[in-house]
Symmetry: C2
Subunit: 367 residues, 2 copies
């Protein structure tokens, strides 16, 4: 095999490929990037068995062939090369020679025959969405997936298509994040749970250009993200996702409108007094026109008055500050509205059109 690519194209391809390289695998070949040169087309493939990526690398194929090279080493080499054309040649012993300007690297590779291929993709039943929109939707929900594997479904996100609407839901037992996205067309109904790990990597692969689109293919056991030059295939999490509709009550006794940044800064300050592992709640004491926020801990105490608009009953309610901060950070509106029923019932933060709904369970406190 002999190929010539620019350093910058190699760096791009390697950055994408690395997203599906397992840190350590029982199948050592999966710690490699599989490089294939054929018919004037160069592809890099990586696969951590949950998620696989194939990306096309622009460049010239001088001689067809295939080699698997340790991803970490190859990535380090490519990054440190001078900015110029890079020639990669392999010999019969599967040694790769990488030449760039006056620099020459030799590394040993492996035949790629035992590399686990990506599952075959049926390119039908496709949903089109802006890459930026998908990236933002992931970033604005991913934080409320569960970190522990105790309940596998909680580590993923529900992707539900209903007519022209994509609904993405994540929950970890203490809070729920829901985002709704209007698609350009009407599609047949779909409902899958995508692993959080896949979505975390996808949010880094997806571009930040609103005009770039990604096609989503929903298969029986897989979801495919198809972008120009790059295809990502991921397994799905099996099982029925939690029925959240019964939680989505519209009842409330108190409706509070507040500047998002003001509330966020104030809660952020309160976290000074929260040491890891201790579950000190912030207490919101909501009155007409103002809210007193307090936190009390062995280290010290804080209180702060915040201007609000309020309808309905006065209420005093406690929250884990982290959960409130995560939700408020995932919103870009200037003001947010909180809906509260009683000190034991969840708090809803949602906009009028329900493009977002964040639900945070309250915390008991002693006053």
């Amino acid at each position: 095999m002999k190929i010539i690519c620019s350093k910058s194209d190699l760096v791009k391809a390697v950055n994408i490929s690395m997203r599906a390289v397992p840190v350590r695998s029982t199948v050592p070949i999966l710690e490699c990037i599989l490089m294939k040169a054929s018919l004037n087309r160069i592809t890099f493939t990586t696969n951590d068995m949950e998620m696989g990526i194939e990306t096309i690398v622009p460049g010239s194929v001088i001689e067809e062939g295939m080699i698997a090279i340790d991803a970490k080493i190859f990535s380090d080499i490519v990054r440190k090369l001078p900015d110029a054309d890079v020639t990669l040649t392999t010999d019969a012993n599967m040694t790769a020679t990488i030449v760039c300007g006056k620099t020459k690297f030799n590394v040993s590779g492996h035949e790629g025959d035992d590399f686990t291929d990506l599952p075959a993709v049926e390119k039908e039943d496709c949903i089109e969405i802006s890459q930026l929109t998908l990236k933002e939707t992931i970033n604005r929900t991913i934080f409320s997936t569960a970190q522990s594997e105790n309940n596998k479904l909680m580590t993923g996100e529900l992707f539900e298509i209903n007519g022209s609407q994509l609904k993405v839901v994540s929950l970890d037992g203490h809070r729920v994040a829901i985002r709704r996205v209007e698609l350009k067309e009407v599609y047949s109904d779909k409902k899958v749970v995508v692993p959080g790990k896949t979505l975390q990597e996808m949010s880094k692969i997806l571009s930040s250009e609103a005009d770039d689109t990604v096609n989503l293919y929903f298969m029986n056991n897989h979801i495919v993200f198809d972008m120009p030059g790059t295809t990502v295939v991921s397994t799905l999490i099996e099982g029925e996702f939690f029925d959240i509709d019964h939680m989505l009550s519209k009842d409330y006794e108190t409706r509070m409108n507040v500047n998002r940044q003001t509330l966020l800064s104030s809660i952020d300050r309160s976290t000074l007094f929260v040491r890891e592992g201790d579950k000190k709640p912030i207490i919101m004491d909501i009155h007409d026109g103002f809210m007193k926020m307090t936190i009390d801990s062995p280290i010290g105490s804080m209180d702060e008055d915040i201007d609000i608009e309020k309808e309905g009953r006065d209420i005093m309610i406690g929250f884990n500050p982290k959960f409130m901060i995560d939700a408020l950070k995932a919103i870009s509106d200037e003001d947010v509205t909180l809906y509260l029923l009683n000190p034991k019932a969840p708090c809803f933060i949602r906009d009028e059109n329900e493009t977002y709904t964040y639900i945070v369970l309250p915390v008991n406190f002693v006053k």
Copy 2:
């Protein structure tokens, strides 16, 4: 005690004070900032017993007094305050109340009576130097102090005044860094060893403005860095520093001139193949007009040709790449000159005026 300061002035003062707060101390009061308000002057003092800092905080004294507050907590609070005036009040129980806008914090403090005062400073026999020059001199030598405490003197730097010249020397047994700075006046001779830790902190306290100056006072057991508003007192390391003059031979058989950045990038690439703990040298094979640099490791190999100007004999010599990189990074000249005698003798990198001399011992290698 009651004082009013701006948030930004408090942040500045806290940032400086934190440099002398021990992470954990057998004398818990030393984990505090001692705050004193007297005669319209507010000072913050910290002391880790090796180094002490006193800094003046601009602000108004409403009521004189003194309190010691946990440095980490106070620093966190101050950083998170809104941008406004901050009022700090203490009560008879040594509780501090910090009010800024609508935010109020309470933290408990301690009486400052058992805080260890900084040693008294005799402000005579003073050396004046630009803060930027001192900062750069430290940054360009500090990396070659020893990390291990086996030989205490190696963890510090020699500061030697000779006429109008300041010479700073650090060495760790594998390399030596020497910087010479021309002072504006002629001073009496001085020779002290300043702890590396003090210098590391000083390099962060010193400003990057060439016009700002710092006064150095050399006392029997202490050195004082006196800047406008801030005084740093440090212990010295006792003992006679290594005599390096006998090492400073001017003999050489090979003199090589090379572009610093080219050499640096090339050595940097070679470090890809150096895993922590393994001592793979880079080998420089120096000929007329070019040098071949190679590294060979179980992971792979690299070689690269670099254009050089050479006088004298051809030579092949091995180095620890890290030591070469550190020295080359500490130089700002476009080209550097290496002086070599034989493969067992140290390499000298120095400029014509000897404002800098970096000495790196070679490494044995098998070819």
